[in-house]
């Protein structure tokens, strides 16, 4: 069966957060944390030169949700068996089984699962599985005004855009084998966090 994945074009993303808000609206997330977040990475410094300034400042954005990883660490840690990678490749959280222990949130380096205070269980992106089964794209992809997100068969996406899936401030992809392809922003370095830092902590 097809393993789906996301192509995240950081050279097109303006960090507008439409993906996040469209998802929040469609899934009525209310007070709950978002299924998809937009990280701002920035770096560089300023050096005075008389009355003028030299700088090498840069910034870019990475939109990230659940990557339906090949090696989902959330599933490995889940004590109740609620988090399971399905045969169709989606990592699905069965909220009927979930006991809300939060282990998956501790383990996931993409911050995908989060605790819902209203429901007392964890919640997470399901890749808009129902939409995808009906031949549609996930809400976030369909919403992106800059067309920075794409969804499809990960093999196809990799053929088209290559195999890169590491960019700061994301974790090294070797941890969970995420099903994403990254088109790097011209300043987007690897995962080495010394160059660029996550700069919107309160927003993600």
């Amino acid at each position: 069966m097809t393993q789906y994945g996301f192509h995240i074009d950081t050279s097109r993303c303006t960090g507008c957060k439409t993906c996040e808000m469209a998802c929040r609206d469609a899934y009525e997330l209310g007070e709950a944390p978002s299924f998809r977040r937009v990280c701002e990475a920035s770096g560089g410094s300023w050096v005075p030169a008389g009355d003028a300034w030299w700088q090498n400042v840069f910034a870019y954005y990475v939109s990230i949700g659940c990557n339906h990883c090949d090696d989902p660490v959330c599933q490995r840690i889940c004590p109740s068996g609620a988090m399971r990678k399905q045969p169709d490749g989606f990592v699905i959280l069965d909220s009927k089984r979930c006991i809300g222990c939060g282990s998956c949130a501790f383990a996931c380096p993409y911050k995908a699962p989060s605790f819902s205070k209203k429901l007392n269980v964890m919640r997470k992106c399901d890749g808009c599985r129902a939409r995808v089964m009906n031949g549609k794209e996930p809400i976030c992809v369909e919403a992106c005004p800059m067309r920075a997100l794409e969804f499809g068969d990960i093999e196809e996406l990799r053929k088209q855009y290559g195999n890169a899936r590491d960019i700061a401030p994301l974790p090294d992809s070797s941890y969970t084998q995420p099903n994403i392809v990254i088109t790097a922003h011209r300043h987007g370095s690897g995962v080495e966090p010394s160059v660029s830092v996550l700069s919107n902590f309160k927003e993600i």
Partner: protein, 791 residues
Amino acid sequence: MKSSNCKEKRYKVFTSTRNDLVVQPDCLIDSEQRLNDCTKSIFGYCSVNCEGRCVLNFHVKNDKLLWVESDQSIKDGDGERQIRACLRGRSIREWINHKDRLSYPMRRVGKRGEGRFERVSWDEALDAIAENLKRIVDTYGNEAVYINFSSGVMCSNVIGFLFRFMSMYGGYLDSYGDYSHSQIDAAIPYIYGCRDANTPADVENTKLLVLFGDNTLETKMCGGGSSIHLKDAIHKAGVRTVVIDPRYSETAANCADQWIPIRPGTDGALAAALAYVMIQENTIDQEFLDTYCIGFDEAHLPPSAPKGSSYKSYILGDGSDKTPKTPQWASAITGIPASEIIKLAREIASSKPCAIYQGKGPQRQANGEQTARAIAMLSIITGNVGISGGNSGSDFETYRFFEAEVPMPDNPVQIAIPVFLWTDAIDNPAQMNSSKGGLRGADQLNVGIKFLWNYAGNTIINQHSNINRTHDILQDESKCEFIVVIDTLMTASAKYADILLPDLMPMEQPTIVANDWAGDSGYVLMNSQYLAIQHERRTLYWMLSRLSERLGFSEEFTEGKSEEEWRQSIYEESCMEDPDLPSYEELLIKGIYRRKNPKGRHIAFEEFRKDPLGNPLSTPSGKIEVYSEKILEDIKGYKLEEGEIISAIPVYAPPYFEPGAADKERFPLQLIGFHHRSRAHSSYGSLDAIRQRARHQVWINPRDAKDRGISDGDNVQVSTLYGRIQIEAKVTVRIMPGVIAIGEGAWHNADMEGDRVDKGGCINTLTSSHASPLAKGNPQHSNFAQVTRVK
């Protein structure tokens, strides 16, 4: 999809394949039901003033709005883009169902601005408005009635009824300009006869794109608008892009190969130095200047111009100021290293064609008119005007084809004020003359504004400069005697209403919308079904119809038509002008009609470039006027205050400040505003979901923050001569040292009887109401401020 052949997979599956898995708990409905099982989808749109108009499909079940989808009418591709809503449009459900949505007519009970109201019946509210309108018109005349500038509902068939209503009731004090681009709108026509520029798609034909303070990718986020067309063009042709901005804006982050940070208000100095280098190195397009322009050098000055008054003389230091505009001179002013200026000048000169655009930031300054012209000079001296891949130096143009208007008789009152001076027209009408007040149609106002209409706007308080001053003026009920506010939410402005009426959203009533900034892809949107009307909310037309009844001109005003019938007649009026438009019925069904620019893209002054004598510009000389005699003519009798500069040639004019406002001891940091993604001006400013995730923050450089002991995320107070706000700090390298930036449009929220510290963080608590000299526009980016940490 039902297959249990999962053993071959690398991963372990603990139970049999379950595609029917319940993903979300019942109370939230799983994605299958939520997204596909809606009984009805209602076509609509977001039509606030962000320069985009986006398609929204409202998924409704039993009158309950479940979720909002955007444009699905076509498949998205490079040829045709879906008109995708941004984060705001996608969050509109919170607005429509907002807990603070106005539901009933209300009458003020406390003092103005306190926000204390009591519910009244529609009859009581309308009676009060009719009585006061009649009294004020009878006492002071129609000149005392003013319709405040607003842009919350950008539909062709809504606010027009208010102007129609007032025109029929003897008229109203007219206005001109706006809060977006007053200065550039006034300035560029002195050069070209009108303000015009190329459309974004033309950028793909250029070798070098230079953007002065343009942040299209954040200010025009519509997924079928300027941002996507510009990005597509840059992306497609791999255009080298330079962005000049004090802030590493989203456009700089996304597109800029080079970012040149510049001190706010000094773009004119940079332009002059760039011109200096090009003149010195003889890389200007002399032939173009000789053929198409007047006033560049002494040989092409109009007869009335004194010697040494040409642009070239000014640049080389042969003019009255005797200062050569060298890169070193500009470096100290702009904060850009001289070598960078030289490099940029050479790059611009050697790139043929080169596209130079400016956003609306540089011009929104005191003396911003001069800056707008100064930037445009770069296009002129390099001969990039009127060609594909070049530009006039003005801001991005758009294709428009649809115009519809509520029919209205001429306004019997022929006097107009600039929109930015409405508080002056209340406070000090005697001062409102042509020099200081920009008054048109009369030498002086006979009476101040006594009756204020405010429909779907937040300019009474929030979007107008110097809120504390406006508050004081409006608190005096002897000045402005009656204020009517019609809106959907309790905005900062609504708190100042005497009568507050609950409006409907555009998707709750018959409306029609045309594209705004949409590149070369125009469209018209029209809804045929409406979200359910709740409580006592009504359309503006409904209110005005009943008022016209009370004032005795109902038949004339309504012509017996309903909202829907009016929309049809307005639209069909447009069809007469443009027979290619689909029929009303057809548009009702489809909701959207698209039309691409038949010429592909727009090249400003293309005909003039091809044949300057056959197609002269509408300037007095028919040529590009580097030296403008008209500007001197127009300001005859003006008394300029110290620092105010209006010049025949585009000189560098630094922003000026009211006494004390630029005291470097008290206010060492330059403060600018910007359009933040979380709001379209102040629209959407009260939505929690957005406020938490696209946070309202003051941007401050780590160097400035360190000096003040401020860390990222700290609460800080920003103060200017005019007021104080409280806001979260974003300590970021993305802003130039010495400069701070605050997104405009956050809702003012202060205890006006107490310390007046604005906890909503509205930048207009900090800005000056002193208008720019020529356009009488808003100089909201010319500020000096201090930041301190709040313990």
